[in-house]
Amino acid sequence: MRRTISLALAGALALVLSAALLTRSRAADPVHPAAPSRNGNMMVTLCDGETSAEIPGVHEGERPTREQAADVARRLMDEWRRKNPGASWDDAVQVAQAVRPGETIPPERVPPPSPGVKPAPREGAAEGAHEAGETQQRGGGATAGGAGGLPAAPQGDVQSGHTYGAFSERDERIWAAETDKFVKQGHAIFHDATAVGSANAVSCDMCHPDASNTHPETYPKFQVQLGRVALLRDMINWCIQNPTRGRPLPDDDPKLKAIEAYILAQRKGTPLEYGKH
């Protein structure tokens, strides 16, 4: 009996592995074969596919120490920089490597100059928020302080030195524009009987101007008329089926997601009160 189980397990494992291999081969990740070390040391290749370095004293299949790994990474980067003297880093890394007020930069940390890239001044973000706040319009997309309105940058001594979160004002603008685009798609569908699949020319905005009275902040809640707990999307689909006599959208339908995005964007700043009646 036990033998059968382990056989079955082995079979299952083999299946999973082969599936994983298949997935890998389908994805066609880049392969960077490095020439083997003459000394039998572990070889590491940089993502440029050309630059290689070995880790002295560590053989293939062994585990380098943290210090050894950091050392080989540093050597690889130095080599890359030597080969690419004109290359520049993203704004993000410049911000991450920016010097704190009063700190002196060790010479090895001075990044190579980046032609054509203006370092991101954090005050700029605050200006941007002001502009976005003034030009915002109801119903057209994001409301005040929505994706278009960037948060003010913190003033004074600010934690730094890591790449996560070290993005520029330009990055934030791109993200805000992408988010607003999604919300605007929802706005268009919300105001278009055909797009929502209405069979009687009724569109969402006819009862819900500016998505009013959709109260997304109250979901999930027990929807008495349905006799069960409903999410906002359940009610969107209920409206599509009943007042507009359309067909409900699948949960992963981009239209449903866009409608949700538009509705939520209109209620920014409203406290969440799930279950509220």
Binding site: Q137, R138, G139, G140, H191, N200, A201, V202, D205, M206, C207, H208, P209, D210, S212, N213, H215, E217, T218, Q225, M235, W238, C239, N242, P243, R245
Partner: protein, 368 residues
């Protein structure tokens, strides 16, 4: 008479009673027949009964009296949408079943959804079933496809006045808009659909306009300031919420024309909700829609308004309805909101004047 009988059945029953009554006329039955004849005359036509009545019931000081309203039916062609057709038919049944019958029925505008001939004619056809005489008002949904051409053909001028039992009634066209379409090269239907969207920022704001206000001034010039005045307008003649055009841009100028009159009431459509306001001596009452209720705007709601409970989306008729307006001794009005599938709510002149007396029942389910 059973309320379940069709309009036609009741029409023919009344007609038979009328002719039977003529054959055996006593003093008592004469009065009865005279009343019925008014109903018969009204049922035949949209116009007020005149010569073919046995007696003239119009008496200059004969207050109080009642009129009813149906408003904001937003009809699409029947094959596109029968939901809104069902709703206007329900309202027509309501006003035809009023006993006693109202002196007349006001139609509050937005008969059509997109101003198309088929929509307007469908509405005209349905409203012919109303027994009482009808006074028509135009809404922006009737207007902006052909700038009112077909509506005027069907129903006559968009601004007019009449006197009834000592009250001067004025219907004004308050949903004019400054030209936003020519510069944008819009087709008539694009213009119509832009105006039809409540939260569409492209369109202009509603206004009575210079010509309309001039007409109003001239019309009121001959009216004594003590004569009660009732004004019908589609948009509220005040500034409630601009982004949704719950608004008349030149409301202040219009109010200035109305202020010299001692008792003024404005009955308006467009807002699809129980709505109450008073500015100086002018009382304002919003009308219900038969098609759908609108949420209260996020700001600007008049203090006097006691919100109607928010509507149950699972009930087509909830938050919709029609209503009656009782013109009382003073010439002011008590407005009854006949909310379908709910208890009716009356907003009395005494409440609007005082803000405290005869307060309508409190809201249980307010806006989110």
């Amino acid at each position: 008479m059973s309320k379940r009988e069709s309009i036609e059945t009741r029409h023919y029953a009344e007609r038979d009673a009328f002719f039977a009554g003529l054959r055996r006329l006593s003093r008592r039955s004469f009065l009865k027949v005279a009343g019925l004849s008014a109903g018969v005359a009204a049922a035949k036509s949209l116009f007020p009964p005149h010569g073919f009545q046995l007696v003239d019931v119009a008496d200059a000081a004969d207050r109080p009296f009642t009129f009813a309203y149906i408003s904001d039916t937003h009809l699409y062609p029947r094959r596109v949408n029968d939901r809104f057709v069902r709703a206007i038919l329900k309202a027509v049944d309501d006003v035809n079943n009023l006993d006693p019958q109202p002196d007349f029925v006001l139609f509050g505008g937005d008969l059509a959804q997109l101003g198309q001939k088929e929509e307007l004619e469908l509405g005209a056809q349905i409203l012919k079933a109303v027994k009482a005489p009808i006074h028509m008002m135009v809404g922006e949904h009737d207007w902006f496809l052909d700038m009112g051409d077909h509506w005027r053909q069907l129903f006559g001028p968009e601004q007019y006045s009449f006197d009834h039992k000592g009250v001067h009634f004025v219907t004004i066209m308050s949903v004019q808009e400054k030209d936003f379409w020519t510069a944008r090269g819009m087709t008539p239907m694009e213009r119509m659909k832009t105006v039809a969207g409540l939260d569409n920022g492209v369109q202009s704001r509603f206004e009575v306009g210079d010509a309309g206000r001039e007409w109003l001034k001239n019309d009121l010039a001959k009216v004594d300031k003590a004569t009660p005045l009732v004004v019908f307008s589609h948009s509220p003649l005040y500034k409630y919420y601009r982004p949704w055009n719950f608004w008349t841009e030149d409301a202040d100028e219009v109010q200035a024309i109305l202020q010299p009159f001692q008792n003024v009431t404005v009955i308006h459509g467009h807002t699809h909700q129980l709505l109450t306001n008073r500015i100086g001596n002018i009382h304002f009452h919003g009308m219900l829609s038969t098609a759908w209720p609108w949420p209260y705007a996020p700001e600007g709601l008049p203090k006097l308004t006691i919100q109607m409970n928010r509507a149950d989306p699972f009930d087509q008729f909830d938050g919709c309805g029609d209503g009656t307006v009782d013109v009382i001794e003073s010439g002011l009005v008590n407005a009854l909101y006949n909310l379908w599938d709910r208890n009716p709510v009356t907003v009395k002149a005494s409440y609007v004047s005082s803000g405290t007396q005869d307060r309508p029942p409190q809201t249980k389910l307010g806006s989110y």
